[in-house]
Amino acid sequence: MFGYYVKLAFKSIKKNPLLSFLMVFAIALGIGASMTTITVNYLMSANPIPDKSEQLFYVQVDSWDPHNAFNDESGDPPNQLTWTDANNLFDAQKAVKQVLMAKSGGIVVPEDKNINPFEVQIRLSTADFFPMFDTPFLFGSGWDMAVDSKLEQVVVLTKKINDKIFGGENSVGRNITLAGQNFKVVGVLDSWEPVPKFYDVNNGAFDEVEDVFVPFKLKETLELPSWGNVNCWKSPDSEGFKAFLRSECINFQMWVQLDNQEQQSDYLMFLDNYVSEQKSLGRFPRPMNNKVSDVMTWMENQQVVEDDAKMMMWMSFMFLIVCLLNTVGLLLAKFIGKSSEIGLRRAIGASKGQVFQQHIIESATIGLLGGIAGLLLALLGLKGIESLYGDFVKNLISLDFTMAATGLLIALLSSVLAGLYPTWRACNIQPATQLKSQ
């Protein structure tokens, strides 16, 4: 009977094209608005590394001003580390894996004279960056820890930069000039765009991955500039690059891999011991306040999904409800218009249940058509957001299979919900009164 009811649904839709169009359009508007905002929220709050998100922890220690908390509202410790603390914590090697990071930049001068020099974003990192974050490689690999300590000048390129400089060839073993220095290419990443860019949400949670990766400790020797957010609660003791590195300014991030609860407790204890030691040296004037946060906790803590986006999503749901209320009215009008047909069907043998099935399937069919049209509107909506906000939201505007399926499911469920009352009314039509009045 399902196929029969679907056939009847399409006949009924064709019979009243204007009414059907209004219903499909109402649902499409609601679904379009909802799916646009849900998609943005979904991508903002997606787990960027689901297999490991509970083992990777962001490290925070409270090295801040004794008189003012870094964050008055939450009382959380600073969201980045000083150069001193970053290096001390890294050198202790207390976690299964650990990575230090910072954002920098420089000019690349390609060997090919036909390509003009251009500026790139540099991600300074240590060797564990690549295995910890499961980065895919097109050619070669990352570097090992010995490279970090020997301060070797190696570089990992993103696919985009490798395409630009080497025309997409395997460039492992070749050299590039970066920030005035010679760097040997050891690896080329395949396409990798984690959304959100969880490993550094301080500097644009939805920015693109940096262009090149070089060993973290080269920052000091090559005096690579500090890009991204730099916060200081007191000025460096003197002028110059070295003084900045020795200051209480924060610009560096650290992630550790801790595989179980015991390792987490041990690492927190290590942090407490480290801070106690630093206190004895006259640093860390604030009360002990160290934290390690797993990936999703850190995303939430840093409010990767902004309140505005959440509010927009709830408003779009309200809009969907308004659209559905309109659909309820239109369905009611449509089904009451079919009273004589319903009366006839009841008279010649349809049970109330069969009439109910027929009309709820008609509601669902309208919902499904509305859902498909709504997804097209959502694509338009996302394009609209892209044109309004540009590259900033580039990673947030793709409608993947999950979201498309979710959209259709919401359309289906909401249209069935909207169809319940009109369908119930249809089922209770008295055949005797309708047959005589036709």
Partner: protein, 232 residues
């Protein structure tokens, strides 16, 4: 076949009670063709609706084909209607956007027949009413008489024991009305019991038995066949 004993039907509103049927007694035997006549508002249609289980009644008993239907629930009544009763209405009540084939198919769908069986029955019943060659047509492409024939085909397709016709010729001119009557008589001859409500005494005389309803009661039962025999 159909036995109503002391059936009472009252329509109530806030202001008024209308006694549509009062102590309505009737027995229709298998194979009969009964014409029900009476003035407007006498209760003919209410009787037909109760006979077709489209309406419930307040008191009395009603047995259809030996089964007491008084206490059946809505689903059971639907099933019984579908299996045992064929309806023919004054205004044909065809579904305008379905072809003749699909219109006749409607009761068979609810009966649960497979596609092959449905096709066979639809073709046979449209053949009986002489419209087998117009199966793909829409009702609006037919004359009133032809539409009523489709409605008769729909009623016959489920092979019911019992046909209920409510003014089946009411919207037709006399020639078409007579042709529909001939068809009904033919169907009756093959064994289907028919109860027909009509205003037209001329048509009523063509049934095997007439009953006259007045003020919600059967006031006169007239055996037309006996009368015809008596009149020579």
């Amino acid at each position: 076949m159909l036995t109503m004993t002391n059936v009472k039907k009252v329509f109530r509103t806030d202001l008024v009670e209308t006694h549509a049927l009062r102590d309505f007694n009737l027995q229709v035997d298998e194979g009969e063709f009964v014409a029900v006549t009476g003035p407007s508002g006498s209760g003919k249609t209410t009787f037909l609706n109760i006979a077709g289980m489209l309406e419930t009644f307040n008191e009395g008993t009603y047995q259809l084909d030996g089964e007491d239907v008084s206490h059946l629930n809505d689903n059971q009544r639907s099933k019984l209607r579908n299996e045992k009763i064929g309806f023919i209405f004054q205004s044909y009540n065809l579904i305008p956007d379905l072809s003749l084939f699909d219109n006749v198919d409607v009761p068979l769908r609810y009966r649960g027949f497979d596609a092959k069986e449905r096709k066979k029955r639809i073709e046979e019943s449209l053949d009986i009413v002489g419209l087998a060659n117009r199966m793909k047509h829409l009702p609006s492409q037919l004359s009133g008489g032809q539409q009523q024939r489709v409605a008769i085909a729909r009623a016959l397709a489920g092979n019911p024991r019992f046909l209920l016709a409510d003014e089946p010729t009411g919207n037709l001119d006399s020639a078409m009305a007579q042709s529909v009557m001939e068809l009904l008589k033919e169907i009756n001859k093959k064994g289907t019991t028919i109860v027909m409500v009509t205003h037209d005494p001329q048509l009523a005389t063509q049934a095997t038995r007439n009953i006259f309803v007045k003020d919600g009661q059967v006031s006169e039962i007239n055996d037309v066949v006996a009368m015809h025999v008596a009149n020579g």
